[in-house]
């Protein structure tokens, strides 16, 4: 049975009781990601679904406040009506997870999601201005506010973003939104291998043309994007957004430089929208399987080296969301967690998160990158300060977290 | 910022002036970033803001100077980069002048330090003595490595290092008298011969005389003129400095009265900064205040003066000139564009080295008294200059020329030497040697 409080006060009450009795709670929103993180024994589910609705939306100030359980769809609709958007492009991961719940805005921030605009527009954490949450002692805490610039005290907002329901139960979030770009265009360079693509993307991103998305789609996945409409060969794709006139000029410039790398073609508005949504949602791996799926975050320039190294030892398929700072990797059979994490370390560091795998695999594979001892100890102390009784899904992230 | 002075203390005009300066400082710290010693040593005590605070504390408490304060004030180059940077208009120059006088009056330096300073003050300002010293220096050169090993003697080693290897040929550029122009007369100026420059590099004023003559300017080398006083002024020796100033004021006022002067031309920006400050230095001397102000108003760097003469534009030459702006030029006198524009008009390609605001470490006698910091700054300066791949380096101050020349093989000239050459003078020797 899932606990669904309908007021913040109720939530605080439930949590206070749980803390007193040592009952573990597994916090969720729409539960669209059932099966993520390390399995937690004997936890009772508690959802924010009952705390729903947009509280305040000032399009002129580009700020929205919503209760944590508000469906993402509702928020996106309200924003779209004002031609605004969440700049960090929250992904719909129901495809890859094979789940069907209704994603909530609280879940988006609790998972600190981000998309292909990550490098330029930040992740969910960067848009989150203020929160209300209930800590592990059942106290309602407010952090941050509703203005863009705010350095008043410790930034608990960042801490709670990406804490995956292990530090507190979000009840309300206030976040920044941006205007939807007037126009989108994509430059496609065809036929580059992974290494050449890395060079091409690095060069594109150092030009003054404001590339807002860069991805490399190798032959194995390319055909699954935009209904197979991408040209012959591997596709290295670069997104430009903004005022129509400006996008046109920048596209010319970018295309001119990219010609040196390979044949260049372009995708217009509609196909571009589809393409980048599919990249965001990891469309090729929304394949209805349980094949282990990794979300790997490393310095962009080592991405292809990592994949090349792994290929020698394991069955791996991958594509690169460069501006998202990510490699999405699907393993053929074994998740190869140790191998993967060893190579990441050897190549300069980063982290790998297991997004999907069968029950058996998840039971034995740490979903989050294990942290060095000192950082793990520090994180455990932080958790202890927010959730002294250890009731919020202990162990879900790693060790005590 | 807040200050704490008693009315009694404020009765002293020096203190009163310093108090005014201190009040303007808002402790924003901007000046630290462009201070060569802070950038080199990374200690706020060796930054303008730190020094201002040390001086404030010393003056407020009416304390004699002590070793700590002296150490950090001595390390100041008086480059005045901080004055250029300061948004609040803090007159650090006159504050540190006052502090140096206070130090000189209230602090007894260790013996060796006193001797070296005494030696510098007794020799450098006097061309004849300096010439003799250079001959001596040649004899002393073999001892440099030994001297450098004894901390108290390091300055001596530095001194010998800097002395020119050969003595300049005698020149009549400094001989008193009036030079009638070759072209139709357009103006009349006096030129400062100064003290060290005629010994180290008489070619600079020779070039100036030739160029001005061709441009129709009558030039006077007045009888009785001498060191501008900067050398001793920066050591905090107030009275000798004022004496030098008074003597020069007398000489120039005499010239102004007999025949008039359009300008007093200075070819060493270090001296220029001081002469332009005579009006302030002598403000408390009723007999001289007015005359000194008049002299300061007429003082012009040679490039400043040439800029208003509208020199004709010449064909581009294939010569890259790295322009090094002396601190006394850019920070002391705020002359930044004139020299570069003149060079460009004369057809040279001008390059701006990075970190142009940083001192080369010469700073009067600084390279002798603080050889280590000076050496680091020199290396940094040379690195930045060489990065622009110049054929020649131009600058407007003899101190910088001597300093930078010991760090690079690229020839370094005074701006006016290049201009003289471009406008019909002989090719400078340093260039023909290549």
């Amino acid at each position: 049975m899932t606990l669904i409080p309908h007021t913040e006060t109720d939530a605080a009450y439930v949590i206070r009781n749980a803390a007193a009795q040592g009952t573990r709670l597994s916090l969720c929103g729409g539960n669209s990601r059932v099966g993520f993180g390390n399995p937690v024994e004997g936890a009772e589910a508690m959802s924010s679904r009952g705390l729903s609705g947009i509280v305040d939306y000032e399009p002129a100030e580009m700020v929205m406040t919503a209760r944590a359980g508000t469906p993402v769809a509702e928020i996106e609709a309200a924003l779209a009506a004002n031609r605004q958007m969440m700049a960090f492009e929250p992904m719909d991961h129901r495809g890859i997870m094979g789940t069907s719940g209704e994603p909530t805005i609280g879940g988006v921030f609790a998972a600190n999601v981000s998309g292909p605009r990550r490098f330029v527009a930040g992740a969910a954490r960067d848009s989150l201005l203020g929160i209300r949450f209930v800590n592990g002692q059942g106290q309602v805490i407010r952090a941050g506010g509703r203005v863009m610039k705010n350095v008043t005290g410790l930034d608990l907002v960042k801490l709670l973003a990406g804490s995956h329901g292990t530090l507190g139960f979000l009840t309300e979030v206030t976040f920044r939104v941006l205007p939807v770009p007037q126009s989108i265009e994509t430059i496609v360079i065809s036929g580059l291998d992974d290494a050449a693509a890395a060079r091409a993307m690095a060069s594109a991103l150092s030009l003054p043309v404001e590339v807002s998305g860069a991805a490399h789609l190798p032959q194995t996945v390319k055909g699954r994007f935009v209904g197979g409409a991408l040209p012959e060969g591997e596709a290295t794709v670069l997104r430009l957004e903004g005022l129509a006139a400006s996008v046109a000029v920048r596209a010319e410039k970018l295309a001119a430089v990219m010609k040196a790398f390979g044949p260049v073609s372009r995708l217009g508005q509609d196909k571009s929208v589809t393409l980048w949504r599919e990249i965001r949602d990891v469309h090729p791996y929304a394949d209805g399987t349980q094949k282990p799926l990794w979300r790997v975050s490393v310095a962009p320039s080592i991405g292809h080296q990592l994949v090349a190294a792994l290929r020698l030892e394991a069955g791996v398929d991958a594509f690169y969301d460069w501006q998202g700072g990510l490699i999405w990797m699907r393993m053929e059979a074994d998740p190869e967690a140790e191998l993967l994490r060893r190579y990441i370390k050897a190549l300069g560091g980063g982290h790998a998160t297991l997004m999907r795998a069968s029950e058996q695999v998840r039971a034995v594979t740490p979903a989050f990158e294990p942290q060095p001892d000192a950082v793990a100890a520090l994180s455990a102390r932080v958790k202890q300060k927010l959730d002294p009784a250890g009731i919020f899904s202990p162990g879900k992230m790693a060790g005590a977290l | 910022m807040q200050t704490n002075f008693t009315l009694e203390q404020l009765a002293d005009p020096h203190v009163a002036e310093s108090e005014k300066i201190l009040r303007r400082c808002v402790h924003c710290g901007f000046c630290t970033a462009t201070c060569p010693t802070y950038v080199t040593l990374g200690n706020e005590l060796d930054s303008p803001r730190g020094r201002i605070y040390l001086i404030k504390d010393m003056l407020e408490n009416g304390r004699p100077a002590d070793e700590e304060v002296v150490t950090h004030i001595d390390r100041c180059l008086s480059c005045l980069a901080c004055v250029t940077t300061c948004p609040s208009g803090v007159d650090y120059m006159h504050l540190v002048d006052h502090a140096r006088i206070h130090i000189e009056k209230t602090y007894r330096r260790p013996l060796m330090d006193r001797l070296i300073r005494g030696l510098l003050a007794a020799v450098l300002p006097y061309p004849a003595r300096f010439r003799a010293a250079v001959v001596f220096a040649k004899l002393g050169r073999p001892f440099v490595p030994i001297l450098k090993r004894v901390p108290a003697l390091k300055p001596l080693g530095a001194m010998l290092d800097l002395a020119p290897a050969s003595i300049a040929r005698p020149s009549d550029a400094a001989t008193p008298g009036t030079r009638a122009p070759q072209a139709e007369r357009r103006g009349r100026v006096a030129i400062l011969s100064g003290c060290a420059q005629p010994v180290l590099d008489p070619g600079i004023n020779e070039a100036t005389l030739r160029l001005l003559s061709r441009l129709g300017i009558e030039v006077v080398v007045p009888e009785g003129e001498g060191c501008c006083g900067a050398l001793v002024h920066h050591m905090g020796r107030e009275e000798p400095a004022l004496d030098f100033a008074r003597r020069n004021v007398d000489v120039w006022i005499r010239e102004i009265d007999n025949g008039g002067l359009d300008a007093i031309i200075i070819t060493a920006s270090g001296c220029g900064t001081t002469i332009k400050d005579y009006g302030h230095m002598l403000r408390l001397d009723p007999a001289y205040a007015e005359k000194a102000a008049k002299v300061s108003a007429l003082a012009k760097d040679i490039t400043e003066y040439l800029s208003v003469l509208d020199l004709p534009k010449l064909e581009p030459k294939r010569l890259n000139v790295a322009y090094h702006s002396a601190c006394s030029m850019q920070h002391g006198q705020k002359i930044t564009l004139a020299p570069k524009n003149l060079l460009k008009v004369a057809g040279f390609t001008v390059r701006d080295p990075a970190e142009g605001h940083l001192c080369c470490g010469s700073a009067g006698t600084y390279n002798i008294l603080q050889p280590e910091i000076s050496g680091q700054l020199k290396a940094r300066k040379v690195r930045n200059i060489e990065a622009t791949k110049p054929d020649v380096i131009a600058t407007g101050n003899i101190g910088c020329i001597t300093q930078i020349a010991t760090g690079t093989a690229i020839p370094i000239l005074h701006t006016v030497e290049l201009l003289d050459w471009a406008y019909g003078g002989p090719q400078p020797q340093k260039l023909s040697a290549r």
Binding site: E58, K158 | G50
Partner: protein, 479 residues
């Protein structure tokens, strides 16, 4: 000197061991890295919030992370408070020491360690100045985006301490949005790496927590920051208005229209006069308020953005519109703006407020602010980052007149409360320091503060890192 804000009483156990502590520090570090002579400590007694001053016990200026670690290990063991210091440009007293504290200055750690264009990152030591980073990568067409007006002098370590912002943060975000990783020495001397060249954290976002923690969670010794390709062009445009209210309303409308310039800076008449006197940037002197709006991108883009902005400004009765004609002129316009605080020193002492308000409240808060300063008989100059509602009223006073100084402080407190009451916050970018510490309860409940303090304790159980700052002295967790 003002006395309204208290510091923690010095720990007697530390003061009584002063000689031993200095001797021990001298063993740990090279001689030129330890400062302890009374006279030499004086210049470290304050930062850019000069109304308050405290002499430290000693100052250390380590040159390596290992030396920082050795100092921290020692101070942790003996319970000696440590106040980290970058360039000491804090406007909230963040770097002001206390009698029983060691100042740990990062000024000798000022090397740029690595520039990695392929990944668009730079890794630098904490004492590198903000501007140094942009200068180092400028020739290759990159820059580091957050640009506090103090960028010439302030260090990246201090920027992280205060999560500093600047004019161009409207588009590019503040420090926390541009910081990828740090090397940090924990209170007990352990060295940890948080983040790196990759994005986001594998576990909790400790990096996000450290950014803006005012030196209370550890000593940052290295930072990895994001570099951004310079736009093709950038152009500041001056918009002069009759009144501050008109200018304020115009800002709200520009943002509301969805056109987001890179920067919108505001100056009122007193500020215009002050800045023009220093920079000679050609600011119009016949207007009551000025907006500097910067647009960037290709020529086409700048034209288009500018056209929409001009259109909006016209609706608000703009008097003069002046585009900068050259790079040199643009540089002067920014130089004037960035020198504003310092240049104010030409006419008076000042304290600088830093509250942020929702954009819709800008005009209202501006009006109220002058009412408040008027009621105290004080003058005020306003120059601030308007695009994100981050106000900087400069309250002018005479520091040699204690009564005036007290009035300025009181007026400042009222203005900050006004910002909070208008739905904003106490500080947008300068940090809480000591200045706003005792106002924290106006913005947060006891539980909110207790939670923050508990998290702080997770890093520093004994509260030895910069202990007098940020959190009100009463109601702290027992050590």
């Amino acid at each position: 000197m003002s006395e309204a804000i208290e510091f923690l009483p010095p720990r007697p156990a530390v003061l009584s061991r002063r000689t031993a502590i200095i001797a021990d520090l001298t063993d740990l570090l090279p001689a030129e890295c330890v400062i302890h002579e009374a006279r030499e400590l004086v210049p470290f007694e304050t930062d850019a919030f000069i109304s308050y001053r405290r002499l430290p016990l000693a100052v250390v200026l380590p040159k390596t992370t290992a030396q920082v670690a050795a100092v921290m290990k020692y101070c942790h063991r003996y319970g000696v408070p440590v106040v980290p210091r970058g360039a000491g440009t804090s406007l909230s007293g963040g770097a002001i020491p206390q009698e029983d504290a060691i100042v740990l200055g990062l000024s000798k750690m000022s090397r740029i360690l690595e520039v990695d264009y392929a990944n668009r990152t730079a890794t630098v030591q904490a004492g590198v100045t903000n501007l140094n980073i942009s200068e180092a990568v400028g020739v290759d067409g990159f820059f580091y985006a957050p640009d506090p007006s103090s960028q010439l002098a302030c260090t990246i370590g201090g920027n992280i301490g205060m999560n500093s912002g600047g004019a161009h943060c409207l588009k590019y975000g503040v420090t926390t949005n541009n910081l990828l990783g740090v090397k940090m020495v924990l209170v007990d001397g352990t060295v940890v790496d948080l983040g790196g060249k990759h994005l986001d954290s594998a576990g909790y976002d400790l990096l996000g927590l450290v950014c803006g923690s005012e030196g209370q969670l550890g000593i940052v010794t290295e930072a990895t920051v994001r570099l951004i390709a310079k736009p093709e062009g950038a152009r500041p445009v001056l918009f002069g208005f009759e009144t501050s209210e008109e200018a304020g309303a115009c800002v709200t409308d520009i943002i509301g229209s969805g056109v987001i310039p890179v920067a919108i800076e505001f100056m009122d008449k007193p500020a215009i006069e002050i800045c023009e006197a220093f920079a000679h940037a050609g600011y119009p002197l016949d207007v009551g308020a000025l907006l500097i709006v910067e647009v960037e991108g290709s020529e086409a883009e700048m034209e288009a953005t500018l056209a929409s902005v001009v259109e909006i400004a016209r609706r608000h009765g703009v008097k003069t519109v002046r585009e900068s004609q050259s790079a040199a002129e643009a540089a002067l316009i920014w130089k004037g703006r960035k020198s504003a605080f310092g240049a104010t020193g030409r006419i008076a002492d000042y304290i600088c407020m830093d509250g942020t308000v929702p954009l819709g409240k800008l005009s209202y808060v501006l009006k109220k602010t002058s009412e408040i300063t008027d009621s105290f008989g004080l003058r005020v100059a306003n120059v601030f980052h308007a695009g994100d509602g981050n106000m900087h009223p400069l309250i002018l006073f005479n520091a040699n007149d204690p009564e005036d100084a007290a009035k300025a402080e009181a007026a400042g407190n009222e203005i900050l409360k006004l910002c909070v009451d208008a739905g904003g916050c106490l500080t947008g970018e300068h940090g809480v320091g000591i200045e706003k510490r005792d106002l924290m309860r106006h913005q947060y409940s006891d539980a909110d503060l207790a939670q923050q303090m508990a998290v702080r304790s997770a890093f520093d159980e004994g509260w030895i890192l910069n202990p007098s700052k940020v959190f009100p002295l009463d109601g702290r967790p027992a050590a």
